[in-house]
Amino acid sequence: MSIDGQSTAGPEEAGSLTAGIPGLRRAVIVGGNRIPFARAGGAYAKSANLDMLTAALDGLIARFGLQDERIGEVAAGAVLKHSRDFNLTREAVLGSALSAETPAYDLQQACATGLETVVGLANKIKLGQIDSAVAGGVDSASDAPVVVSEGLREVILDLSRAKTLPQRLQILSRLRPKDLAPLAPGTAEPRTGLSMGEHQALTTAQWKISREAQDELAYNSHRNLAAAYDSGFFDDLLTPYRGLSRDGNLRADTSLEKLATLKPVFGKNLGADATMTAGNSTPLTDGASTVLLASEAWADAHDLPKLAAVVDAEAAAVDFVHGKDGLLMAPVFAVPRLLARQGLTLADIDFFEIHEAFAATVLSTLAAWEDEEFCRTRLGLEGAFGSVDRSRLNVNGSSLAAGHPFAATGGRIVASLAKQLHAKGSATGRPARGLVSVCAAGGQGVVAILESL
């Protein structure tokens, strides 16, 4: 199999992908911690990104005994970020129980931020640059930055450069009442003016994804997440915060009938069949997540668990601006390239974590991989990429039920998947493989393979 002309290398040895490229060591996931995700305007309405990221980080430190530990590096980010938070992650480290000598940096890749921090830090561990790392992300849709108008901003900046009183008065006289109205952050793509939901509505119609299929996926997300909570799956993945001990968006008692009563919210004016509702789209959410990564030696020396290894990752982007591909379809291209590089097919994956930006995003992705024509002409494959076994998809629920604080989603998925893989691997005695796929604004996507240890 060849994708985009890349030759593909087989796995290092039968059975395990993580035996390692010569000279590189493994990067392992020790565990994770997040705070429950809250609906915007809910329990975390007054909590800032720094508060939530610090809360998630402190929970991780407590869980793994990292007080006063100098971690190799901490990387996290937020999509909706105040300019005062220019050093958000370093500030969270300084406000946490970690050693103040722990360096940190911020990263921003829209909704792929969290997963990209995992990938980047894992690579540093593999290269031997660091022995331990914390990856993470946080977002608040409640405490979002509000921006002043361009008119007011220019007046303030010009005032700061003015030297004399007449100059200042002249600059102030430019202010008009409308300049005082603040601007809230929008969700529209800068180059198209279409919101993410409107972009997905076009893709949804293009792939003919039905309302029923979307509602069913949303229903399964809530059902799976509720079952995971009931079985205690999240007991060592989550620290309660501000009175929440479960995700505020979870509706354990929802039903297909209830979901079917909701009115469409996206795609009503686009000439497409409107099928996307508040029930099968992710809500605006507040929350934070963290993941502890380490070399095997560091984990052993600290007597910490090794759940899974970060095997490989791939980023992709699509040319969505004039509609060549859907805004959220980049993972459709990234996954086949990644699996080909590792000599794998969809059948080799034990668990799929495909981020539920919208139910229709997941379903459009699956539909594209099953479409022979698309896979031949656009992915360069010989036929259809294949089908995803639905019983392996988002088995502990995903963003539709948990919510989606943009930069926090990658950490939520990686920590949960690592735990799920470790349990499966321990039970079967053979390595279990998981695939993470996260789409992002700007037509981007990041995907990664984890394997149990």
Partner: protein, 311 residues
């Protein structure tokens, strides 16, 4: 069209103006001329003025350029957007149509279509020689139409960098000796495509474009000033819409391109405008052309359509 206008040599007699005419004075003159013609009867000429108007060594204000680029969604580069050059040349176009021997009433003329060849990129540091003349007076099923030809050269050079042809309609004006063409065949009904972009145009869109283009035509400025001229609300400048579409086509258009737009229905403010951009590629996958069409997402009525193509 290209062969007809593109030679750069015309028989028009140049009238060199000392500086760019003031658009606001031209609008006032046009109003006075309209009143005069109403009192004294319409102008009865059917010939176009044979003079071209020219201003030499026009300099660009970089602050206005930056504001223009930001407003229409172009990156603030040192190259003048093709629509910005149109705005630079516009006062000259107006001054030719403001002449006493121009046979059509300037006020109330409707911009039907615009065609630009951006042959050579122009930088904001270039001093420019700009000329404008009128040509091709002809009938239209709803009145009389005319082309304004504008040419822009680097100061003191002969080669045209930018050529613009703006077609205007004097609605309801029929001049003796100019035949009304037979009605246009029914155009195929416009079928609304999937949009690739959605513009949210506020009520101040016209004022904002007036500030960067200098075109303070009252029909664009406010509901009140538009009503004074018989419009139900203010409308967006056609060249604002066309320039945004050109910006949305993006960098694939390269340094030199042809840019055409046909205006179908005015955009009343505030409103949302849906836009579709379709890329046409050549055999090797190279960019040949981008077609654009814009419509009202509520009514499905087409506002304008056109293309940007490789020169």
């Amino acid at each position: 069209m290209r062969a007809e206008h593109g030679g750069g040599m015309t028989s028009a007699r140049p009238v060199i103006l000392g500086e760019m005419p003031s658009l606001s004075k031209l609008y006032v003159n046009a109003a006075a001329q309209a009143a005069r013609r109403r009192l004294l009867g319409t102008h009865d000429g059917t010939a176009l003025p044979g003079e071209s108007h020219e201003v030499r060594g026009v300099a660009v204000d970089v602050a206005t350029l930056t504001a223009y680029q930001h407003l229409i969604g172009e990156t603030a580069s040192d190259v003048l957007p093709a629509g910005f050059i149109h705005a630079l040349a516009f006062p000259l176009a107006m001054s030719v149509m403001n002449r006493d021997d121009f046979p059509l009433p300037l006020l109330g003329m409707i911009h039907l279509r615009n065609s630009v060849e951006q042959r050579i990129p122009v930088f904001f540091t270039d001093a420019l020689d700009i000329t404008a003349r009128v040509e091709n007076l002809r009938g239209h099923r709803a009145g009389t139409q005319v082309d304004v030809i504008a040419e822009v050269r680097r100061a003191g050079t002969a080669e045209i960098c930018w050529l613009g042809i703006s077609t205007y309609l004097a609605k309801g004006v029929f001049l003796p000796g100019i035949d009304k063409p037979s009605p246009a065949p029914d155009r195929a009904e416009f079928k609304v495509p999937d949009p690739t972009a959605l513009w949210h145009l506020g009520v101040d869109t016209g004022r904002a474009y007036a500030a960067v283009s200098g075109d303070f035509n009252p029909i664009h400025l406010s509901v009140l000033s538009a009503k004074a001229l018989g419009m139900r609300r203010s409308i967006a400048h056609g060249m604002y819409l066309a320039s945004r579409a050109l910006a949305d086509v993006g960098p694939s258009r390269g340094d030199s391109f042809a840019w055409e737009v046909d205006f179908d229905a005015p955009v009343f403010l505030p409103c949302r405008v849906a836009l579709e951009i379709t890329t046409v590629e050549g055999s090797a996958g190279a960019w040949c052309r981008s077609d654009f069409v814009a419509w009202n997402p509520r009514s499905g009525r087409r506002h304008f359509h056109g293309s940007v193509s490789a020169l």
